[in-house]
Subunit: 416 residues, 2 copies
């Protein structure tokens, strides 16, 4: 089936590159992109066209690090030091997901909030609860949010949310078996972070990752206290990453959130192994963790994507996360001189980079299922003159809110 969308088309196929097709056509066959063109080829005459008029049609967002069970605490506890924040809010909030009715309500609202904000791909932490994790996956799939979800593993230093090593492993196996039924949302192994996982658990998860060829996500070098703690726990590891490396968890497509304090050698280890850094700018400033060396990571060939990191982050909407990444990079520039992220660069990290993590295309690259959003600018202030598309793109990234998102396509299907 042929579908044709008409509108002002723009995408970021490569880092720093913004391509625009004013009043263009996006042609789909069964939800798969055939191409983008300025005028409709003769062979499509007579095909129905969904006309988005003056609206912007652009790739939707990918959020590669967020904690679903922290959604209920969004925007709270931001004045607390990290450990108090974990005890007062995080562990208590996550513990509530024992209750499946509660989980259903919260995760349905979260899935809806994501898709209507233009986020169609995620790599997400659940809680330790197997059944709530399955509820989360079901709600995401129903809403059209695709990607990875992980039941969290944590058998030490995890307060109320802790599990035993045996439970952690047997529940992980039960969860993986139950995941067979999902099509759009797949499992990812999720050791919370080194201090919350015993060596036995890490070793068993590393074996599982290898035996079943499963991807892995965790946290890395978020703050200096954590790094010192990992050094105490693993005196044999000169750098934090090696505590994952020695158990087979440091491998191609492993997602590591934060990397705020990753030094050149840790960055080189990421590039060499194909490990991805997920930059969480809002969370890193909210929790006073620091400002991640994003430009340095990119220059060393590390893949970088963006994460909202709710609820360390306070904003779920990824355009706000893109803007926060730009702001963080400006702070970094003032500190080190490293050039800040331009709007097209930061948008690439929040859209195409995440698509490519999931083997999607570069922007609206043909041969890939469509992930897109349609932005209506009519609620923005009236400009003094007709704006060029790159200016409209920039304004949309800075100003867009949910009310401005007119349609969202995920995996080739219109979901909003």
């Amino acid at each position: 089936m042929t579908t044709i969308l008409h509108g002002n088309i723009l995408h970021a196929p490569a880092f720093g590159q913004l391509e625009t097709v004013p009043s263009g056509y996006l042609i789909l066959e069964d939800g798969v992109i055939e191409g983008v063109c300025e005028a409709l080829p003769a062979r499509y005459e007579g095909c129905p066209v969904t006309d988005y008029g003056e609206s912007l049609v652009m790739p939707s967002f990918a959020d590669l690090h967020l904690h679903a069970p922290q959604y209920p605490m969004l925007g709270m506890g931001m004045d607390l030091p990290l450990l108090d924040w974990l005890d007062t809010y995080t562990f208590r909030t996550e513990a509530r997901f024992e209750d499946l009715d509660y989980a259903r309500r919260v995760y349905r609202a979260l899935a809806r909030d994501l898709i209507t904000s233009g986020t169609t791909r995620v790599a997400m932490f659940s809680s330790r609860h197997t059944d709530a994790t399955l509820v989360l996956m079901e709600e995401l799939e129903n809403a059209g949010v695709t990607g990875y979800v992980g039941k969290v593993n944590m058998d030490r230093n995890a307060g109320l949310s802790q599990e035993t090593t045996e439970e952690s492993l047997s529940e992980t196996l039960r969860w993986l078996d139950a995941c067979a039924r999902f099509r759009l949302v797949r499992p990812i192994l999720t050791p919370r972070f080194t201090p919350a996982c015993t060596d036995d658990l890490m070793a068993a998860l590393g074996k599982l990752a290898s035996d079943r060829d499963l991807p892995v996500q965790s946290h890395l070098s978020e703050n200096t206290g954590e790094i010192a703690w990992v050094r105490e726990l693993h005196p044999d590891c000169g750098r934090y990453w090696q505590s994952y490396g020695k158990y087979g968890l440091w491998k191609d497509r492993t997602l590591m959130a934060h990397c705020v304090h990753s030094d050149p050698r840790e960055q080189e280890a990421m590039a060499a192994s194909g490990v991805w850094a997920v930059h969480c700018a809002a969370s890193n400033v909210n929790l006073c963790s620091g400002t991640a060396p994003v430009r340095e990571l990119l220059n060393r060939g590390v893949h970088v994507a963006l994460g909202s990191d709710i609820a360390g982050g306070d904003q779920l909407a990824m355009n706000k996360v893109v803007v926060m990444s730009i702001r963080a990079s400006k702070v970094k520039q003032m500190e080190t001189g490293a050039p800040f992220l331009t709007v097209p660069e930061a948008y690439y990290l929040g859209s195409t980079a995440g698509q490519r993590y999931f083997n999607g295309g570069a922007g609206f690259q043909p041969g890939h299922k469509l992930h897109a959003m349609v932005v209506d600018e009519s609620a923005f202030p009236e400009p003094t003159r007709p704006l060029a598309l790159p200016e409209r793109f920039e304004r949309a990234i800075y100003l867009m809110e949910k009310r401005d998102i007119r349609a969202v396509y995920s995996e080739g299907v219109k979901r909003v």
Copy 2:
């Protein structure tokens, strides 16, 4: 006439102090606050009560630095260096306000955007255009936005927007005469900043400020290039502030936006003269100006309020500006160790501090006309447990959008 509001009442009467009255009553006589109480005194029995139920009733915001004619360029040009940004966007955009029909449309939309976002007090820069400035004041007054507006004076280094010294002065007099008809919005003298005003103009404005007892607003020590420029223009001034001081523009209640690079001696000069610093956190990071020493200013006894500084800032909603001030203070803490602004502290700067600038009260202090907003939390994520009011307050500051603002009172009158 007695009006009674019922709801969860909270305010920040002093810096760092948050007072909450769960399910309380706010009593007004002709729009003037009589008091806040936990139970309704017997003498008010029978008076009609506006019941806001579970909603939060809190003082509205004051935005003490923004450029009205830059509203059309909100969220654009953020990747440009300051001078290109001024040439490509700012001066050209401001020049458009020669056209009064255009000014009317833009300023009506801006006034509406302000009041529905909970901003009821402003100190605002217009453009150099007298008639468009009067349109702006009219639109603000009609919408219920109170405070100060200034016709901008700039007779050098102002590109397309420049005026001659004679024009600048004669138009200022014409404008001041025409302002007699406004009640809620009053004039403030507005030399754009030292590099844009000749010595003759500065001297004449200083005399006018003194003769007519008019307040003054301008920019101070925003970035290092500007400071060097002022030093060239005024080699007799050891510090930037003295270029205002020597013409009588540095006086009690003068508003100085930015103060990013104000050193201890400049800060002391502010405290000594009763000059206010207006902190514009979003703009300062967007334009890579730096991070203002807010804690240091406060410790030295300088009055500090907040400004959105659109369109160097990209967010008009003052709760977002409060959050940006917190983030900037966390960046500053990581850099210098100065404690970050807590949510109640930053909210004080965005509400009570601005009220007091306009001789309003401390929070909901009796004897002052009501400036308040009512926030409905029903669109926020469902929490895991009943939240305490201070937690709800914090969450509202972080998450609230226009859709959540159920009512706004300005100068004792319900406007939204």
